[in-house]
């Protein structure tokens, strides 16, 4: 192998093992994707502050479509569905598809890999083993993501100020189909508790919201119907 051989694209730090699996499937079929590239404000306080946002898991640039993978039990996706309806009301030009736990299970069944669904949903001891490449790539991706929030924005963030869609996933029934136990070990946040991870996400979302309220640039956000400027994470050579 030569030194100038093209290195594989770094993998982002997936919040959930099922997302990592879906990314592998998209890679296999040569469908380009980016992971959580955009955040859409969907709720505001009377003061105009963003109090609720939605960050779809994947954006598929060639299809101009967002994909949200929710692995909660069907009976527990009410909040997620409400957020999706709200997003569609506010951003009618944004195409988004919600991929439910059942959809994911059926997808794995189609590939004869239904057993993997159980593996992804297992207990802590069954979490996906770490992969060196994913770990390195994940840390880089996390660093890039954090770097997009300026120190000023980060300073203005208040813990718990903004409710993001990730809170829905963790706050409901811990016995859900792919609960927090299914998170990847290679996640740089793996040593933190789920609550700690949520706080980190809240901080970043709050920083984006603060910037929005101040009329400044909003990291990782897009105007309705114009999902541009996505990073190249996950693209194939």
């Amino acid at each position: 192998m030569t030194d100038d051989a093209e290195a594989p694209a770094p993998r982002p730090a997936f919040a959930h093992a099922s997302e990592a699996e879906l990314a592998r499937i998209l890679d296999f079929y040569d469908v380009r994707w980016t992971y959580e590239p955009d955040t859409f404000p969907i709720g505001w306080s009377l003061d105009g502050d963003v109090i609720e946002s939605f960050s779809p898991d994947f954006y598929l640039p060639d299809l101009d479509m967002y994909l949200e993978l929710t692995t909660l039990k069907q009976s527990l996706v009410r909040k997620k569905n409400r957020k999706l309806r709200r997003l569609r009301e506010l951003y009618p030009d944004v195409r988004i598809k919600l991929f439910y736990a059942r959809d994911f299970r059926m997808l794995l069944l189609k590939f004869g890999r239904l057993a993997l669904a159980a593996e992804l949903s297992g207990t802590v001891g069954q979490a996906t083993p770490p992969r060196a490449q994913a770990q390195a790539g994940g840390q880089e991706a996390a660093a890039r993501r954090d770097a997009r929030v300026s120190p000023r924005q980060a300073d203005t963030a208040t813990d718990g100020e903004v409710q993001s869609d990730d809170d829905d996933e963790a706050a409901d029934d811990p016995a859900d189909a792919f609960g927090p136990a299914g998170r990847l070990d290679d996640d740089p946040d793996a040593g933190r508790t789920p609550r700690g991870r949520r706080r980190g996400r809240r901080r970043r979302a709050a920083a984006r919201a603060a910037s929005l309220a101040a009329g400044g640039p909003v990291a990782e956000s897009v105007p309705p119907g114009a999902p541009n400027g996505f990073p190249s994470t996950g693209t194939l050579p």
Partner: protein, 188 residues
């Protein structure tokens, strides 16, 4: 423990009988014959599931035509390693440049495989490329695919038979049926 396969007993419901499939195939054949009259038609089928449909459909098309077969690898990644990229296991045996190509599929669900194949075949310079599928499961769609000829839109259930398999079994059923969930390990 190896489970004994009882082809018919494993079917919870017959979704499409042999007769219904035959009638629809004849209807599609007539439409295709009209639409492609006077043109150079090549049917391209994707192994293995499309084989029975292809065999029946081509005999319902009253035109001189060519057929060709392709096979692509299916996703089989593990949780710990990448499965790489989809591979063409069997490529076309002749050029389709300048030909009117009709891609014949057994079922479209996510659209992932078909999306890849469409891009691949378009790269070979056909005069036109259309899609014909016996079954369409739009509830599963991830990639929107323009379908030109559609046999049946089916509900979001796991179906086998008439070429469709589960673990390489059930392809030889004459009908399309819904596989009992307990067969693939799901509680009913």
């Amino acid at each position: 423990m190896t489970r004994t396969v009882d082809l018919n007993a494993d079917i919870g419901e017959v979704l499409l009988t042999e007769e219904v499939i035959a009638a629809k195939t004849a209807e599609l054949g007539r439409r295709i014959s009209e639409d492609y009259a006077g043109r150079q038609l090549t049917l391209v089928s994707v192994l293995k599931g499309s084989l029975p449909f292809m065999a029946d459909l081509m005999r319902q098309i009253d035109l001189p035509l060519r057929i060709d077969l392709m096979e692509v690898s299916s996703y089989g990644g593990t949780a710990t390693e990448s499965s790489g990229l989809v591979r063409i296991i069997k490529d076309l045996s002749a050029s389709i440049a300048g030909e009117d190509v009709l891609l014949v599929e057994d079922i479209i669900d996510t659209g992932l495989t078909l999306n890849y194949l469409i891009r691949y075949l378009k790269g070979k310079g056909p005069a036109s490329l259309r899609i014909c599928t016996l079954l369409d499961k739009p509830a599963r769609r991830l990639v929107e695919i323009p379908v030109d000829y559609r046999g049946f839109e089916i509900p979001d259930q796991f179906v086998v038979g008439y070429g469709l398999d589960y673990g390489e079994r059930y392809r030889n059923l004459r009908f399309v049926g819904v596989l009992r969930p307990e067969v693939y390990g799901e509680p009913q």
